[in-house]
């Protein structure tokens, strides 16, 4: 991608954040909550997009990392650990776990790897549900306080948007650096990459670890947003939902998660009148989208916006 395209992509992402901030002044508390949720989902999906979309490593473990981030914050903050520190610790824990999860990826790929990562999600879910002494089990953890100064709905939304802005800058920098190119090389042709001196092992582990850490950051924001957590939001269903956000938005495209998360947050609201049929309609829309444009919504938009003629 050219420098101009890179800059335009970052500009669009940051403009979306500013817009989200401005729009909140016209919204009711529930709308503000949805925007905050969008920011949280976008962070988690950006992490998965790095692992899956750019580095080509299938992962169904992202929900587990969001859960670990959420529980870390919920457990540490009552002991006087500041929010920022518990967010960092959650992200660090996920980074280390992600490194560990990367090892199977050195041996298996594709659907086998999906199964390994699925196992981690299930394992994390079982720990959250059964280790009552630590996690409160199905009763969960309630009264999670928001950090001082960000207690109001809009205040916390700005915090979420601020963290998303940092994540955006970080991911953008990373992906346009030589690391980003190495990640894409893993996806495109790992054997050839190895013959060019790319340490496939190190980059595979890093792709998992960094993606996982962003999942942890999203979780850390999620707990104080909803102020009550229990295991069910972090089950396999949520991993699949995050996968869908990446794919619907546009896998391997920087803005994909932004749009994918927006669809995931808004569509259930718009289709609420359909009640139980909502999922059927959602599924049908996804199938139609992917049949028409496998590159997702961003791919669809690019096809129309950047139509070039002939060969350069």
């Amino acid at each position: 991608m050219s420098h101009a395209r890179h800059a335009a992509v970052l500009g669009a992402a940051l403009a979306a954040l500013v817009l989200a901030g401005l729009v909140s002044f016209a919204l009711q508390p529930y709308g503000i909550y949805l925007l905050s949720l969008w920011a949280v989902y976008t962070i988690a999906a950006t992490g998965l997009n790095l692992t899956l979309g750019y580095a080509g490593q299938v992962s169904l473990a992202q929900a587990a990392f969001v859960g670990i981030g959420a529980y870390t914050t919920a457990l540490l903050m009552p002991h006087g650990v500041p929010f920022g520190v518990s967010l960092m610790l959650g992200a660090l824990g996920c980074f280390v776990l992600g490194l560990g999860l990367g090892f199977p990826a050195l041996r298996v790929q594709g659907h086998y790897l999906a199964f390994v990562t699925l196992a981690l999600t299930t394992l994390a879910f079982l720990v959250m549900r059964n280790e009552t002494w630590l996690t409160g089990g199905i009763g969960g953890i309630s009264n999670i306080r928001r950090p001082a100064g960000f207690a109001s709905g809009r205040g916390y939304e700005f915090l979420c948007l601020g963290v998303l802005a940092c994540v955006t800058l970080l991911a953008w920098w990373l992906l346009r650096s030589p690391w980003g190119r190495a990640f894409m090389a893993l996806r495109e042709n790992p054997m050839r990459a190895a013959s060019l001196g790319v340490d496939v092992r190190a980059y595979t582990l890093l792709a998992f670890a960094i993606g996982a850490a962003l999942g942890g950051v999203a979780g850390a924001l999620y707990a104080p947003l909803v102020q009550y957590i229990e295991p069910s939001p972090f089950s396999l269903d949520f991993s699949l939902a995050l996968l869908l956000m990446v794919v619907v938005g546009g896998s391997g495209l920087f803005l994909g998660p932004f749009l994918g998360a927006l669809v995931a947050v808004l569509l259930p609201e718009w289709l609420r009148f359909l009640q139980d049929y909502y999922l059927v309609i959602y599924a049908a829309l996804v199938i139609v989208l992917l049949a028409l444009c496998p590159e997702g919504l961003i791919g669809l938009a690019e096809r129309h916006l950047f139509r070039r003629k002939g060969r350069a």
Partner: protein
């Protein structure tokens, strides 16, 4: 000419690689001296590509040794060998289809520049912009720099594949059928570039190729492999005239 005292760069000692009961490489020994352009010919399925894969760490040999500058590198990982200055091309196209031509080249050089951490904070093209431009020019791919590699024709991808192998300035390059599918005129230019890199930069090449015109006009020495064994080894003209080579490979 390569003097007899030129140091040995690459050496294979009694290399064997079996797949089940089949010995694809069956006791091959040879040495490549610095500055040589060694041609490797032989029938399809005679073990040439398997030999390359054993030399380059893609496959672990069943027996025998590979030495680089006299040092045992048997089974060393491809990435580590590459960082020692050994590069290769592949028989079937191996580029990065969804990266631009330019990014393909930068990727091929970036792991040789500085430390991984320094690369993260350095410039996006790892300071390789000028080097990539030079390579684009050498292989006449300038006009396609911004295109996805997947959108190139077969012959163009073949050139890109070769350009990738030369990007990091390797001193030993193993080329697996570089001429297949490349237009004869372009191929003549490619041959001259290989020759220039050989004489000017002192790079050593091992070339698997079926295009005999290309082999005869480029290589300083040729070995012929049939059924996993070397059946001829010597000056190009002598190997071409060898009755065993004509029988197994050239036909009459």
């Amino acid at each position: 000419m390569i003097g007899p005292d030129a140091p040995t760069v690459l050496e294979a000692r009694d290399l064997v690689r079996s797949f089940g009961a089949v010995r694809a490489v069956d006791g091959i020994s040879f040495a490549v001296r610095e500055g040589e352009i060694l041609g490797v010919i032989g029938p399809n399925g005679s073990g040439k590509s398997t030999l390359f894969n054993c030399l380059l760490g893609q496959l672990l040999p069943s027996a025998g040794q590979v030495l680089l500058d006299g040092r045992d590198v048997t089974g060393m990982r491809p990435a580590a060998l590459n960082r020692l200055g050994v590069s290769r091309t592949f028989q079937l196209l191996q580029v990065f289809p969804q990266l631009s031509v330019r990014d393909n080249l930068i990727l091929a050089g970036q792991e040789h520049v500085g430390s991984r951490i320094a690369r993260l904070f350095g410039s996006p093209d790892a300071g390789l912009g000028a080097a990539a431009d030079r390579m684009l020019g050498l292989f006449r791919l300038e006009a396609l720099a911004a295109e996805m590699a997947a959108s190139l024709s077969y012959g163009q991808q073949k050139l890109l594949d070769a350009a990738i192998a030369f990007m990091a300035g390797p001193r030993l390059v193993l080329l697996d059928e570089p001429a297949g599918g490349v237009n004869p005129t372009l191929l003549a230019g490619f041959r001259e570039r290989l020759r220039a890199m050989n004489t000017e930069a002192g790079a050593t090449f091992v070339v698997i190729e079926h295009n005999m015109e290309f082999v005869m006009s480029l290589c300083t020495r040729v070995i012929c492999i049939a059924q996993g064994k070397i059946i001829a080894n010597g000056a190009p003209a002598a190997v071409r005239a060898d009755p065993a080579v004509i029988e197994a490979y050239l036909g009459d």
